[in-house]
Amino acid sequence: MTDSKYNQYAALWPRGPRQTKVKPLAKRLATLEGKTVAWIWDYVFRGNEVFEQLEESLRERYPGVKFLHWDQFGNTHGSDERNVVANLPQKLRELGADAVVSGMGC
């Protein structure tokens, strides 16, 4: 008969060391009045329709809000993802974006 309680094992941590440092979020806005919101899309799950509805609702609350259409940035999912995301900061700055709404995580 084998009694496994006499076989003792000292087991190692199997995960790799985390490389990420926690970073602070950007400063939040006080209002959208006079601000420019960029729609960023992964081209799936009716994000275009969601953005349209959000745009309509936001205009009702903040008549001076402006929007940047998603087709100015490219597809954030698929074969173009890395390039599109890498170029995003520069493009957002060039186009004067004050805020980003990115979808669709579904």
Binding site: A11, P17, L25, V84, P89, S102
Partner: protein, 464 residues
């Protein structure tokens, strides 16, 4: 979506990420690896794919709108990420059962018993590589962890591998961290899993099955290396079900498929690794990710011309939404994989067809009507704007997808004959094939050489 939001946050632009309610746990887990654990998301009720226009609009007004405003206006509380053990830390001691209970409780196991990774066992693995234990092979999302040689050995022990599999495991992880493979997508909802295809003398040397039942568990080398891949995805990349792994259904990990190089050589077909640029006779592996596949039984005919229509038809039938990796989300990233049983490959070769000729004829015959191709693209996620005419006019796809305006014209699944991966393996005497549905850019095939240490023969001799 989160990665785009993080790119904005990093340069001082506040973001709101639209996330379906059932993806909130995933978003929380993924945000840690991205370095913004307190990033705010805005909820999307249910799934837009199943809502009428009116319901979708109502849901956006009632729920998502407030979520967007909260995310852009309110600063979320800072979240700290807890410390973790070091690579050489002992995290538990005890019996086989106690160690396994600990690993299951702490989500470090796939649910099967693991071999306790002790220092002695890990060091036995490290003898089979000239790489330094702390060498970093790459860094992987979503957890953003370093893939070290040490962690390869630890997870190899856990998976039930033998120490001499270490060069194969390292090559596998080199493929996993390759940007072209796209490991960060391994938790996406289609839930596909990888397949490792092995080539070279190491197949026989390490006892990989390359004949009957090649995709069946039951052969230590094939099975344990396949299990290793999934364990490494969990423990180092960070893909845990109900967290960063959002597979709708998922697949169990696949055992390694080794090619029958004897048959391939006999019929004059280059091995799979040669299609990735490695010389025949080289030890190498390729890895791609597949959402599923199907056994195509009893491929019958005395000539390649008689066999091909059935094979081509079977290939087309494995592909539905995945064609969007050819035209759509992932342009030119679809790479179907076919396993041909040896007797099928021999019959095709006996008709004078090279492997390249087989691929060219497959490319010519594995086609579907253009209007069907477009219908699938449009039905998938209800996006109305994709059609082949516009895609071709915009210069995004080659002419072969739009040689005329006839909606009944036949269009290929892929851009070129070489996009088909063809591997000879399986039962020597059965006339069947297996067709895998490829997951495109979310697991693009990559290949790596398996590098043996200079003292490989001596090490192997030691084991007698």
């Amino acid at each position: 979506m989160l990665r785009a939001s993080v790119a904005a946050e990093a340069v001082g632009i506040p973001s709101a990420t639209l996330v379906c309610e059932s993806f909130m746990t995933l978003a929380k887990a993924a945000s840690q690896g991205l370095g913004f654990p307190n990033i705010a998301v805005a909820p999307v009720r249910g799934h837009p794919g199943l809502q009428s226009k009116e319901v979708l609009q109502q849901n956006v007004r009632e729920l998502t709108l407030d979520g967007v405003l909260n995310a852009l206006f309110k600063t979320p509380a800072m979240v700290t990420v807890g410390g973790e053990p070091g690579a050489r830390d002992i995290i538990c001691s005890g019996s086989f059962e106690a160690v396994n209970e600990y690993f299951i409780k702490h989500e470090l196991s796939d649910g099967l018993p693991i071999v306790p990774p002790t220092v002695e066992k890990v060091e036995a693995f490290l003898k089979y590589t000239e790489r330094q234990a702390d060498e970093v092979l790459g860094v992987m999302l979503p957890d953003n962890r370093a893939a070290t040689v040490w962690s390869v050995a630890v997870n190899g022990v856990m998976a039930g591998c033998r120490p001499e599999y270490m060069p194969v495991l390292i090559a596998a992880v080199e493929a996993m961290v390759d940007h072209d493979y796209g490991v960060e997508h391994s938790g996406n909802t289609p839930g596909g899993d990888n397949l490792i295809v092995l080539n070279g003398p190491i197949i026989k040397e390490l006892g990989f099955n390359y004949t009957q039942g090649v995709m069946r568990d039951g052969f230590q080398a094939n099975t344990s290396v396949g299990r290793f891949w999934r364990l490494y995805l969990r423990n180092v990349a960070g893909f845990l079900p109900h967290k960063n792994d959002k597979a709708t259904f998922g697949n169990t990990w696949r055992v390694v498929v080794a090619e029958n190089e004897d048959v391939a050589a006999k019929i004059g077909w280059p091995p799979n690794c040669a299609d990735f640029g490695f010389a025949a006779g080289c030890n190498a592996l390729s890895v791609g990710r597949y959402t599923g596949g199907n056994h195509i039984s009893s491929v019958s005919g005395a000539t390649p011309e008689e066999l091909l229509p059935y094979i081509a038809d079977a290939v087309v039938r494995q592909y539905s939404w995945q064609i969007m990796f050819s035209v759509g989300q992932g342009y030119d990233t679809l790479r179907p994989l076919l396993l041909l049983s040896p007797i099928i490959a021999e019959t095709i070769a006996a008709g004078g067809w090279s492997k390249q000729k087989f691929r060219e004829e497959l490319f010519r015959q594995a086609r579907m009507p253009a209007q069907e191709f477009e219908r699938i693209l449009r039905d998938w996620t209800q996006k109305p704007t994709w059609n082949l005419t516009e895609e071709h006019a915009a210069g995004r796809i080659p002419k072969i997808f739009h040689e005329s305006g006839d909606p009944q014209r036949l269009v290929p699944l892929v851009w070129r004959p070489d996009d088909f991966q063809v591997v000879v393996t399986g039962d020597l005497g059965r006339n069947s094939i297996y067709v895998f549905a490829h997951n495109g850019v979310l697991g693009f095939p990559v290949a790596k050489e398996i590098k043996l240490p200079k003292n490989w023969k001596a090490l192997r001799g030691e084991r007698g």
